[in-house]
C-alpha cells in the first residue's frame, strides 16, 4: 500500500517508524495493519519514550505478587491469602476536550483494569490538576471533571475515597485527570489476561462497538493544539450502568468459576486491537478474529474502525472451549451481550478477517515490539536560573496570622469537601478513613486488616528539581500512608510530562524517574504498576513535570488506625526536623506561590532521614503512644497545625516557638520528612522523644490541644475564623463568574 504523510500522521507514526514496520513485515502493511500498529506503537500503548527508563524502577519487594507490566495491574500480598491489586491511569487529553465524559471514562477504564484481574474494585481515587481557578475555562473543566468522576463512580457502587487536586498555571488548558483504583480479593481468584489454549474462543462482552474513540491512543500521544477540537470524536462516552453489570459478572466469574476461563482482558486504549494482541503476546499464542461477528452500534463500520474503536465497557473473555456455554449463560444472566468473535491460534499471528476476507495478518510480536527512543535529555538553562533564586531574598513575613488565613483559604490548601461530598465515598461499608485525612483507609472485609492509600505529587518541586521533586512525591505519599498507622507497601505511578521529544522534557522525565526510583528503593515501596502520559503540552508550553504517585500501605489491625484529629488535652510533637528552618525550604512552597507569586530556589530531601522518621512514627504507634498523626506538606507547619485543630474542633496553645532567623520558613516552609503527632500526656511525649533521639530524629514538643484559638508562635487566630477560611476557600474560588 503506498502510504502518504497524511495516513501516517493519522496514526502518529513517523516515516522512519513506517520503514521499520515494512522491514519487520518484509512488505507494505495493509491499512488495517497500519492502523493497528500505529495504535500499539503510540506512546500511550507502546511507551516508546518511557520504557527505556523503566529499568530504574525497583520492582520487587516483600509484598509484591504481580510485577509491573506482567498484567493489567500490579498485585501485592496482604497476607492470609488476601491480595490487593492497584493501578493509576491518565485520561488527560479526553478531559481537556470533554471534561465530563473524559473523566467518567477514565474511571471506567481503570476499574476494568482491576476486575480484569478477578479482583473486586473496593476504592477509587483521583489525582487532578487544573490551571488557576481565577480563569473561567479552568473552572469549567474543574466542575466538569468532578461531575464526571461522580457521575460514573457513584453509579457503579465503588467508593471514591480520596485523591488530591492542585492548581498551577502550567495546567491551563491541559488538565490532568489521573484515576486510581484498588481491588481486593482472594489470591486464588487472581486472573491472568492471557489468551492461552489453542482453539479456545475469544468472547467479546458488554457494549456494542461504535465509532467512538477511534484513534484515542494516538490522540493521547500528541500535543494539544488549536485543532484539537477536531479530535472530539476520539473522546469516548461512558455507560456506568453497563460497567456495573460487567463488573458484577466478571467478579462472579472470577470468584465462583475461575476454572471456566483461561483469561480475562479489558478493552481500553486501542480497543480490540490492544486487548487481543496483548492477550496473545502474554500467552505466546496467536489470535484469529472475524470482525463481522463483532456487534456494532453504528452501521457501515469497516475493519479498521472496528479494530480501533475505543467504545467503553467491553471485555474480552477467553473461556476454555468446554465451558463456553457456561460463560455465555453467566453473562446472559447479567443481561449482557456476549459473542464469540474468534479463537486462539498457535501460529503467533494476529489474523483479522472481515467475513471471508483477511484484512490483516501479521506476527503478534511486531505489535509488541514498538520502537524505543532512549530520551536524549538536556538540562535546560532555565533550571539554573530557577534554582539560583534565593527565597531568602524576599522580606520575612510581617503578619503571620493573616498569612495563615490566606493560605488556609487558598485554592491549593482549602478543604476539598466541595469535591468529595459529590462522590459516594462510603458504599461497600468498608471506608474507615474517609476523604479529608492524610490517606484513606479501607477495611479488608473478613479480616482485621486495612489498606491505606494516598495519591501525591507537587509538580512545583519537580519544576525546580525533577529528581528531588519526584523523590519528594514518593516520600509524601508514603508519609500520608504512615500517618494512618499503615506500613507503605508498594506504589503505582502516572508519569505526566510534556513532549519527550524535546530535550528539556526528556531531561525532566529521566531525572524524575531516577528520583522516584531512589525514593522507592530507600522507602521499600517498589513500583508495581503505572502509566505514562506524555505530550501534555498546549501552545503555551508543557505542564510542569507531574509523576503522580499512588501509594498503598497495609495495616494489620485496622481498628488501630490513626487519624489527623487529636483529642483535647493531647500534646502535639513535631518529628523529623526542628521548627526553625532555612529560607530555602520555601522553594516551591504554597507560601511562595500565594504570597510572593514566584517559583524559585532548590528543594532538598534526605531520604535516609525520611525512612527513619517514617519507621519512628510506626514504631511509636505500635507501642500505643500516639493518638493522632499528620504529615507536613503544603503550607508547612502552620497549616498542618491548623488542619489538626480544625479536625479536632479545638485550638492549640503553642505560643512559645523557637522559630529561628526566618519566621516564614519556620511557619510555612515545606521541608519534607516531618510529622505532627499527638500524644496523651507528658510521659508519652517523653517516650516518643526517647525513641526519636535513639534513631537520630529531631523532636520538639509544641503545645497542648485546648481552647478555641490557634496560638502558634506569633500566630493567634480563632479556630472558627480559620475553619471558615479553610472550609469555604474552594467554593469561593469556584464561584467567581
Amino acid at each position: 500500500m503506498p502510504v502518504d504523510d497524511r495516513a501516517l500522521q493519522q496514526v502518529a507514526m513517523s516515516r522512519e517508524e513506517y520503514r521499520r514496520l515494512v522491514e519487520m513485515l518484509d512488505r507494505e502493511p495493509t491499512e488495517v495493519e497500519l492502523g493497528m500498529t500505529g495504535a500499539l506503537w503510540s506512546e500511550h500503548c507502546g511507551y516508546k519514550h518511557s520504557r527505556p527508563l523503566f529499568h530504574y524502577f525497583p520492582t520487587t519487594g516483600p509484598f509484591v505478587l504481580t510485577k509491573v507490566g506482567e498484567e493489567n495491574a500490579g498485585a501485592i500480598d496482604l497476607g492470609d491469602g488476601w491480595v490487593c491489586v492497584f493501578k493509576m491511569e491518565s485520561h488527560n487529553h479526553p478531559s481537556a476536550l470533554e471534561p465530563y465524559e473524559g473523566a467518567a471514562t477514565g474511571v471506567g477504564g481503570i476499574l476494568r483494569d482491576i476486575f480484569a484481574m478477578g479482583m473486586r474494585p473496593v476504592a477509587l481515587l483521583d489525582s487532578l490538576r487544573f490551571g488557576p481557578l481565577s480563569d473561567r475555562n479552568n473552572r469549567r473543566l474543574f466542575r466538569g471533571v468532578v461531575a464526571g468522576i461522580g457521575g460514573y463512580g457513584n453509579c457503579v457502587g465503588v467508593p471514591t475515597v480520596g485523591g488530591e487536586v492542585q492548581m498551577d498555571a502550567s495546567y491551563s488548558g491541559n488538565p490532568l485527570v489521573n484515576a486510581m483504583a484498588l481491588g481486593i480479593g482472594r489470591r486464588e481468584h487472581l486472573l491472568s489476561a492471557a489468551a492461552r489454549g489453542v482453539g479456545n474462543p475469544l468472547v467479546l462482552v458488554g457494549a456494542d462497538t461504535g465509532r467512538d474513540g477511534i484513534h484515542g491512543a494516538t490522540f493521547a500521544s500528541v500535543e494539544l493544539s488549536e485543532g484539537s477540537d477536531e479530535h472530539r470524536p476520539a473522546v469516548q462516552v461512558g455507560n456506568p450502568f453497563m460497567e456495573k453489570l460487567l463488573m458484577e459478572a466478571c467478579c462472579e466469574l472470577a470468584e465462583q468459576h475461575g476454572d471456566w476461563i483461561e483469561g480475562l482482558q479489558d478493552l481500553g486504549a486501542a480497543g480490540l486491537t490492544s486487548a487481543s494482541v496483548e492477550a496473545a503476546n502474554r500467552a505466546g499464542t496467536g489470535i484469529d478474529i472475524d470482525i463481522s461477528l463483532v456487534p456494532r452500534r453504528a452501521q457501515g463500520m469497516n475493519a479498521y474502525e472496528v479494530m480501533l474503536s475505543e467504545s467503553q465497557e467491553r471485555m474480552l473473555v477467553i473461556p476454555k472451549i468446554e465451558h463456553l456455554d457456561d460463560v455465555l449463560a453467566l453473562f446472559r444472566r447479567w443481561e449482557l451481550h456476549a459473542d464469540v468473535i474468534g479463537h486462539v491460534t498457535g501460529d503467533q499471528l494476529a489474523t483479522i478477517r472481515d467475513g471471508d476476507t483477511v484484512v490483516a495478518r501479521m506476527p503478534v510480536a511486531i505489535f509488541g515490539d514498538p520502537p524505543q527512543y532512549p530520551p536524549a535529555g538536556e538540562r535546560p538553562a532555565s533550571l539554573d536560573r530557577l534554582q539560583a533564586i534565593d527565597p531568602g531574598a524576599q522580606p520575612d513575613v510581617a503578619d503571620s496570622s493573616a498569612a495563615l488565613l490566606r493560605l488556609l483559604g487558598s485554592e491549593n490548601i482549602a478543604s476539598r469537601r466541595w469535591i468529595f461530598r459529590q462522590y459516594d465515598h462510603m458504599v461497600q461499608n468498608n471506608t474507615i478513613i474517609r476523604p479529608g485525612g492524610d490517606a484513606a483507609v479501607v477495611r479488608v472485609r473478613g479480616t482485621s486488616k486495612g489498606v491505606a492509600v494516598s495519591t501525591d505529587c507537587n509538580g512545583r518541586f519537580l519544576a525546580l528539581d525533577p529528581r528531588t521533586g519526584a523523590a519528594m512525591a514518593v516520600a509524601e505519599a508514603a508519609r500520608n500512608v504512615v500517618a494512618t498507622g499503615a506500613t507503605p507497601a508498594a506504589l503505582t505511578d502516572c508519569l505526566n510530562f510534556g513532549n519527550p521529544e524535546k530535550p528539556d522534557v526528556a531531561y525532566q522525565l529521566e531525572e524524575a524517574i531516577i528520583g522516584l526510583s531512589e525514593a522507592a528503593r530507600v522507602l521499600n515501596t517498589p513500583v508495581i504498576s503505572g502509566n505514562a502520559s506524555l505530550y501534555n503540552e498546549t501552545p503555551t508550553g508543557a505542564i510542569i513535570p507531574t509523576p503522580g504517585i499512588g501509594m498503598v500501605g497495609v495495616i494489620e489491625d485496622v481498628a488501630r488506625h490513626l487519624t489527623i484529629a487529636p483529642r483535647p488535652g493531647d500534646l502535639v510533637v513535631l518529628l523529623g526536623g526542628p521548627v526553625a528552618q532555612p529560607a530555602s525550604t520555601l522553594a516551591g512552597s504554597e507560601y511562595q506561590h500565594v504570597v510572593h507569586e514566584t517559583l524559585g530556589g532548590r528543594p532538598s530531601i534526605d531520604l535516609d532521614l525520611e525512612a527513619r522518621v517514617q519507621r519512628l512514627v510506626l514504631d511509636a504507634h505500635a507501642r500505643g503512644l500516639l493518638s493522632a498523626a499528620h504529615d507536613l506538606a503544603d503550607g508547612g507547619l502552620a497549616v498542618a497545625v491548623a488542619e489538626m485543630c480544625i479536625a479536632a474542633g479545638h485550638g492549640i496553645a503553642a505560643g512559645a516557638l523557637d522559630a529561628g532567623a526566618r519566621l516564614d520558613a519556620a511557619l510555612f516552609g515545606e521541608a519534607p520528612s516531618r510529622f505532627l503527632v499527638a500524644v496523651r500526656d507528658a510521659d508519652a511525649a517523653a517516650a516518643v522523644a526517647t525513641l526519636a533521639s535513639a534513631v537520630g530524629v529531631p523532636s520538639t514538643s509544641l503545645g497542648r490541644i485546648e481552647g478555641d484559638a490557634i496560638a502558634l508562635g506569633p500566630i493567634a487566630v480563632s479556630l472558627a475564623v480559620a475553619r471558615g477560611e479553610w472550609e469555604t476557600g474552594l467554593e469561593r474560588a469556584l464561584a467567581e463568574g
Binding site: N154, M426, Q428, N429, T431
Partner: protein, 231 residues
C-alpha cells in the same frame, strides 16, 4: 427473621444491606429482579443503587420488574418492606408510597452524614426510637428531595406517617439540617399501615462502630422486635 434483599441491575447497596442485617442477627438472601417468590414473613429490602442506570427517571423502570408485583402483594398482606435511597424512589414510582423524589436543591450529588429525627415511634421500623435525638444515617444521592402536594404533606403529618425528618444530633428539625431541600425536611415516610418504609438515608451504612457509627441498627432491631405483631 429473614430478609429478602432485592437486586435490580444497577443495585449497589445489596451487599451493604446483607452485611448490616447480619450485624443484628438477621439472615438474608438476595433476590434477583426477575424472580417472583417472597416468603410471607420475610423483611423485604429494596436497597440503594442506580437501578437500570436510572437513565429515564430514578426507579421508573424498576417498578415494572417481575419482583415488584410480589412486593406489592407482600405489602398488601402486611409484610414488612423497606426501600432505601433508590429503593424509596422505586416504592414511590410503584405508588406504594406517595410523593416523588426530585433532584437535590443543590443540583449536586451529596454524600454526607445526616441526623434523622424520628417522627413516628409506633411503626414496625421505628418502634422505641427516641424522638429527642437525631440518628446518624449517611445520605448518598443526587435525587433525594422529597416532594408532594400540600394535602399529602398534611395527611402524612396528621396520620403520623412521617418516619424521619432531617435534623440535628440533639433532635431539632432545622432548615440548615436539610441536605437536599426536601419538603418538611422529610427523610422517610410510611404507608398507611406502617409496614412499608421508604427513606433516602442509608441506615445500613451506620451499622458498626468501626465505620464510625451504628445508629442504623435501631431500625433493624425495631423490625426484629415486631416479628409476630400484626399491622
Amino acid at each position: 427473621m429473614r430478609a429478602a434483599v432485592l437486586v435490580f441491575p444497577g443495585t449497589w447497596s445489596d451487599n451493604d444491606c446483607v452485611w448490616a442485617l447480619s450485624q443484628v442477627g438477621i439472615e438474608s438472601r438476595k433476590v434477583w429482579h426477575r424472580e417472583t417468590h417472597l416468603e410471607p414473613d420475610e423483611l423485604v429490602v429494596l436497597p440503594g443503587g442506580f437501578s437500570y442506570g436510572d437513565y429515564l427517571r430514578t426507579g421508573a423502570i424498576a417498578r415494572f420488574a417481575p419482583i415488584m408485583e410480589s412486593v406489592q402483594r407482600h405489602a398488601e398482606a402486611g409484610g414488612l418492606v423497606i426501600g432505601i435511597c433508590n429503593g424509596f424512589q422505586i416504592l414511590c414510582e410503584a405508588h406504594l408510597l406517595p410523593g416523588v423524589l426530585m433532584r437535590n436543591e443543590s443540583l449536586q450529588f451529596r454524600c454526607a452524614d445526616t441526623y434523622c429525627v424520628p417522627a413516628n415511634t409506633t411503626s414496625p421500623f421505628t418502634r422505641g426510637l427516641d424522638t429527642s435525638r437525631g440518628y446518624l444515617f449517611p445520605i448518598s444521592h443526587g435525587e433525594g428531595r422529597y416532594v408532594a402536594d400540600e394535602a399529602t404533606l398534611k395527611m402524612l403529618d396528621e396520620t403520623d406517617r412521617v418516619a424521619f425528618r432531617y435534623g440535628t444530633a440533639d433532635g431539632r428539625v432545622t432548615p440548615e439540617a436539610n441536605p437536599n431541600g426536601s419538603m418538611d425536611n422529610i427523610a422517610g415516610i410510611l404507608n398507611e399501615r406502617g409496614n412499608v418504609l421508604g427513606m433516602m438515608p442509608h441506615p445500613e451504612r451506620a451499622c458498626e462502630p468501626l465505620l464510625g457509627h451504628d445508629d442504623g441498627n435501631a431500625i433493624w432491631r425495631s423490625a426484629l422486635a415486631s416479628v409476630g405483631v400484626r399491622v
